[in-house]
């Protein structure tokens, strides 16, 4: 283990340059990456340097040097609490990975993978070679598509009154009741409607997932942040599908079909992508 211990200060170069590390964006086949490097490339995560390749056997990593004054352990942890610093670099990371994933099958890495020396990247490529090759093959020719389901709560609740027979009965009895009773019945109706709305949302999400999984190769449920509301309504569910490029039209038509089926019920679908397969990189 001690032989592997990275030296703390790597890359202290001739011209008195600051110590640097290597930021790694993605990994792919060596030959296909070399080809992409023949053409113009997007900017690196820090704007004054260019992207580089570090190759080992048949694999290569897309990297760029980063100053350890910003990307060393403490500095980076500090920067990560600054939304603007992180947002800008996140977009740059994404642009780089997107550029390569559009041109070849890549393994997208999570934000913030940094090595202190070139040799350490080579070592990683050879140690994890088998796993990396397997992921590259699994993702070949495929893209990630995000599918968001939004619910228009007002519309949904309104529809529910007609959907559920027991609710209809209750609301009829509320009309006929005395004012005091009627108030209590209406309270109960509100609670019931909210719970029916939740069930209905779950049902629709499951149905959409089932339909699109027939075409997609794989699916992931993504986290929905607390009250993620947008101009489309409330975000009810979020999926990522791994879709073969050749079947995308089919996938899109299927999504349009289910979208149409549920529009009147108060649901709206949004498709985002194509993404590098971030959600399918970890086995």
């Amino acid at each position: 283990m001690s032989a592997r211990e990275p030296k703390k200060m790597s890359r202290e170069t001739k011209s008195g340059r600051k110590p640097e590390g290597f930021y790694v964006y993605c990994i792919a086949g060596r030959e296909s990456l070399s080809k992409v490097f023949e053409d113009a490339l997007p900017g690196a995560i820090e704007s004054d340097v260019a992207l580089e390749l570090i190759a080992q056997e048949d694999l290569a990593a897309v990297v760029s040097p980063v100053p350890l004054s910003d990307y060393g352990e403490d500095a980076l942890q500090q920067h990560l609490t600054e939304a603007t610093w992180t947002a800008v670099r996140a977009m740059r990371h994404e642009k780089v990975v997107e550029h390569f994933s559009r041109r070849t099958s890549v393994v997208p890495l999570r934000f913030g993978t940094i090595y202190l020396e070139r040799a350490r990247v080579e070592q990683m490529l050879s140690e994890r070679g088998a796993e990396l090759r397997a992921i590259i093959e699994r993702l070949r020719g495929r893209e990630e598509w995000g599918l968001n389901i939004y619910s228009d709560r007002a519309k949904l609740l309104e529809n529910i009154a007609t959907l559920s027979p027991s609710l209809r009965e209750l609301s009829e009895s509320a009309d006929a009741a005395t004012p005091g009773q009627s108030y209590l019945i209406r309270k109960k109706i509100d609670t019931m409607r909210a719970s029916v709305a939740r069930e209905e949302t779950k049902r629709v999400a499951a149905k959409v997932e089932r339909e699109l999984s027939k075409i997609g190769d794989d699916v992931r449920h993504l986290r929905v942040l607390r009250d993620e509301a947008t101009e489309h309504g409330e975000l009810a569910a979020k999926f990522a599908f791994l879709v073969d490029r050749n079947r995308f039209d089919e996938f899109r038509s299927a999504a349009e079909r289910v979208a149409e089926d549920y529009t009147s019920a108060g649901f709206r679908l949004e498709l985002t992508g194509p993404w590098p397969a971030y959600n399918f990189a970890n086995g």
């Binding site: 990560l80 947002a87 800008v88 913030g112």
Partner: protein, 135 residues
């Protein structure tokens, strides 16, 4: 809506929130030599969502810099100009964020290292407030 069918699905360019959700949280995890904890992704995403209302606006006025391959030579100059503009804009946004969060956090200049629970709550409140204002 006349074009209802096509408007059901919008394959739009990725927004910042979608990007962050993916690259901060997903993607192959390889330890690397620098240990970073992205444990607080949710808080970070909330903070950044606070920015986004404004960045979306920035996009409307032409600051959609991430859609271009900025280093492709013919666009390099324009990209550089955009970068400068963007940096200024971000400085402004950073300022705005601070304005929004300071009144809810008890300490002035909010301790940089602190990502305590209470700060998370303050952040959330600020997010809601800003969203309300942006409607």
């Amino acid at each position: 809506m006349s074009s209802e069918r096509s408007s059901l699905i919008t394959a739009r360019p990725p927004g910042l929130v979608d990007v962050l959700d993916r690259i901060l949280d997903k993607g192959l995890v390889i330890a690397g030599d620098i240990k970073v904890s992205l444990a607080n992704v949710e808080l970070l995403t909330l903070q950044i969502r606070l920015l986004i209302c404004s960045i979306d606006k920035a996009e409307q006025i032409g600051l959609n810099w991430w859609r271009y391959d900025t280093n492709l030579t013919t666009r390099a100059e324009r990209a550089e100009a955009e970068n400068v503009e963007l940096r200024e804009r971000l400085a402004e946004l950073e300022h705005e964020v601070r304005q929004l969060t300071v009144p809810t956090a008890s300490k002035k200049g909010r301790a940089r290292s602190g990502t305590s629970r209470s700060r998370g709550a303050a952040e959330t409140a600020a997010t809601k407030k800003s969203r309300g204002r942006n409607r």
